[in-house]
């Protein structure tokens, strides 16, 4: 939750190609009347554009009567909010203890090494982003992951390789 680091990342990130300030403004306005609506608004922006770009900050700040720094601080605090879109597919791999107990750490390390990625990285072809998560509530079928939101359990190397291949062959899932 290092805000400085997040800012570093976001400084040069241009808004995503489909960025539409009017649409973002409407999404934000729809949440601004709710108690504590900033998180719902951030989720709505990210669901629509795949990230919360810097360009959204002034819109959020004025809708919620906050300073831009405050908005930045909130965005930077939460691991979920991205400053630039992820790859076409996202694999959220669990790094927590129950998954460790079934060889999850080695499995993840091998996969990252094979793809030449760090946690959070995206393959050069833009097909796949690998994110770390800490427990998916799938601790009875470890190691576990969410692949584009779909739960996967009892992961082993073959299954992971198949998921990577699937990500590289197909376009974005709905």
């Amino acid at each position: 939750m290092d805000i400085a680091m997040t800012d570093e990342h976001s400084r040069h990130a241009p808004p995503p190609p489909d960025w539409d300030a009017a649409r973002a403004g409407a999404l934000i306005a729809a949440e601004s009347g709710r108690e504590g609506g900033l998180l719902p608004a951030l989720h709505a922006v990210q669901a629509a554009f795949g990230c919360v770009p810097e360009a959204a900050e002034p819109l959020l700040a004025s809708a919620f009567n906050l300073s831009r720094a405050e908005v930045k601080g909130v965005i930077g605090f939460y691991h979920d909010f991205r400053r630039a879109p992820a790859g076409r597919h996202v694999l959220k791999l669990c790094r927590a203890e129950a998954c460790q107990s079934m060889n999850g750490a080695a499995l993840a390390a091998d996969l990252l090494a094979r793809l030449g990625l760090d946690w959070g990285g995206t393959t050069a072809d833009g097909a796949l982003t690998i994110e770390a998560v800490y427990c998916l509530g799938l601790c009875a079928m470890p190691p576990a992951a969410l692949f584009d939101g779909a739960p996967v359990g009892r992961l082993e190397a073959g299954r992971l390789a198949a998921l990577v291949a699937e990500a590289r062959q197909t376009g974005p899932s709905a």
Partner: protein, 517 residues
């Protein structure tokens, strides 16, 4: 008439291929011209048997599992719709020893009912707790919860009724009920199972809480890692509203209450109740100093009851059956049942709800069947990432808040994560520090900086550098974190670290010993 099959849509069952089984069932039935009604339930919690389907027969349900999509044809050939014999036939689910040994109160309906149907909930004893509460009146409802002995299932074990009494006594125009559904502890999935398998019981629990303390608005704060639970709760809230169980003048009682789901954004610390409240307010999830108690000044400064999913979901049956029936179960000061979650490297992983008092050894070896890998059990982490690692020597510890505390451990939210003898406990200690560093809210120095320091010290120990000196350092650091942290993230990270060092010291000195040899 078409045949009826029950198949979970629980995320755990989905992770093991339940949707592919559903598709194969539908395809095969169509090919055979058979009408099939597939009800997507929650899970019973016998995860080594998932995907597990149940067929409705005149003599009750018959279970089959674990089923692979390729096996569906052979099920039809074996006339499974009439309960026919098949290598995967498990008989009546209630008779499976893992389930038969349990006392299912909070999870009485989970895996049985259709979680999308308010009518099914009512048909299985739903809303009886609310009816009794409305008949008793608010004050007597609070006292019923006090008398049940129910303690918070989120981890701290604070008596739920006492918390409600405080909020009920607060004078304010607006009060809130907040359900803590952030379930971030590794090894836990009970909240997820209830939200996906019996969401109405949680709604009923929140309604009773609202009625008891005089709150008209509820928030359920859950995690973005739980998309299926979010969908199930939202659907159930809509159904409850259209059935007159949420909104104005509920069931003509004069009591009004509404409920909204809010989703976190990937921050473990937001499970801590005050950080959660800040997050709900749209802020960074930073822990607040107490006092003031949330029960007096919580969400938006108003009196707020914040309870875990399981605490709230246990309230309807306490009201329906009476406090005494609940309080009669248990061990010492831990009353009632606890949904224990068996996870990690274990042969029979799943949800085991039982009265407090079952020993750790019974849970891991008898009920859990030992490790999944077939290797010896070496360590068990109980209570999530802030819980201690116990060796087999402590397997006689009964599942009870005080008994675990007496052995420098905690039961937390009831997660039990098993490791076999391939585990490196120094690596586990390092991870505990790393996790604390990643998830620290940043408010206190011992947690924010101490954890990062702890990772470095563990790296030196694991490399065999100045081991004795660094072991003294990590011990000191743990003392500082334990006593200088505002919340249990920094304050309890020493539990996994120090328990690993105390019970598995060889793993910390091995690198140095090897270098010396």
């Amino acid at each position: 008439m078409s045949a009826r099959i029950y198949l979970p849509r629980d995320a755990g069952a989905l992770a093991l291929g339940a949707d592919a089984v559903a598709a194969a069932l539908a395809r095969e039935a169509r090919a055979r011209g058979i009408g099939l009604d597939i009800v997507r339930t929650g899970a019973r919690g016998l995860y080594w048997l998932e995907p597990m389907l149940e067929v409705a027969t005149p003599s009750g349900r018959i279970a089959y599992g674990p089923i692979a999509p390729e096996e569906v044809g052979s099920l039809f050939a074996a006339d499974f719709l009439a309960g026919g014999a098949h290598p995967k036939q498990l008989g009546r689910p209630e008779e499976i020893p893992f389930l038969k040994r349990q006392t299912r109160l909070t999870f009485a309906r989970c895996g049985i009912v259709d979680p999308a149907s308010a009518a099914d909930y009512a048909a299985h004893g739903g809303w009886l707790g609310l009816a009794r509460a409305l008949a008793l009146g608010p004050a007597a409802t609070v006292e019923e919860v006090v008398a049940s002995g129910l303690r918070g299932r989120g981890g701290a074990g604070f008596p739920t009724g006492i918390k409600w009494r405080t909020a009920a006594g607060a004078k304010a125009a607006r009060k809130y009920i907040v359900c803590n559904a952030d379930e971030g502890d590794s090894g836990t999935f009970a909240d997820r199972m209830i939200m996906e398998g019996d969401p109405f019981v949680l709604i009923e629990g929140m309604l009773i809480a609202g009625y008891a303390v005089g709150a008209s608005k509820g928030y359920l704060y859950t995690r973005s890692e739980y998309p299926h639970a979010i969908a199930a709760m939202n659907a159930a809230i809509l159904a409850a509203r259209s059935g007159g169980f949420l909104g104005e003048n509920i069931q003509d009682s004069g009591f009004s209450f509404d409920l909204e789901v809010r989703v976190g954004a990937g921050a473990y610390v937001c499970g801590e109740e005050t950080a959660l409240l800040d997050s709900l307010e749209g802020k960074r999830g930073v822990v607040r100093a107490k006092p003031p108690l949330p029960a007096l000044q919580g969400l938006f400064g108003q009196p707020t009851v914040i309870n875990n999913v399981i605490s709230l979901a246990s309230v309807p049956i306490i009201l329906a059956e009476g406090a005494k029936a609940y309080q009669d179960l248990g061990y010492g000061r831990s009353r009632g049942t606890m949904p224990i979650q068996l996870a990690g490297n274990i042969r029979n992983p799943g949800l085991f709800e039982a009265a407090f008092g079952v020993t750790l050894g019974e849970l891991v070896e008898e009920i859990g069947g030992g490790t999944a890998s077939g290797r010896p059990v070496r360590a068990v982490q109980v209570g999530g990432p802030l819980g201690a690692y116990f060796p087999r020597a402590l397997f006689d510890t009964p599942f009870d808040y005080e008994a675990f505390a007496a052995r420098d451990g905690l039961i937390g939210h009831g997660g039990v994560v098993v490791f076999d003898d391939s585990v490196d406990m120094a690596a586990q200690a390092r991870f505990a520090m790393e996790f604390c560093a990643i998830e620290s809210c940043g408010k206190c120095t011992p947690c924010r900086l101490g954890s990062t320091r702890g990772v470095e010290v563990m790296d030196r120990i694991r490399a065999g550098r100045d081991v004795e000196k660094n072991l003294a350092l990590i011990t000191d650091l743990c003392e500082t974190m334990k006593f200088g942290s505002l919340c249990a993230l920094g304050g309890f990270t020493p539990y996994p670290v120090m328990s690993a060092l105390t019970h598995f010291r060889d793993d910390f000195t091995r690198a140095a010993a090897q270098a010396a040899a």
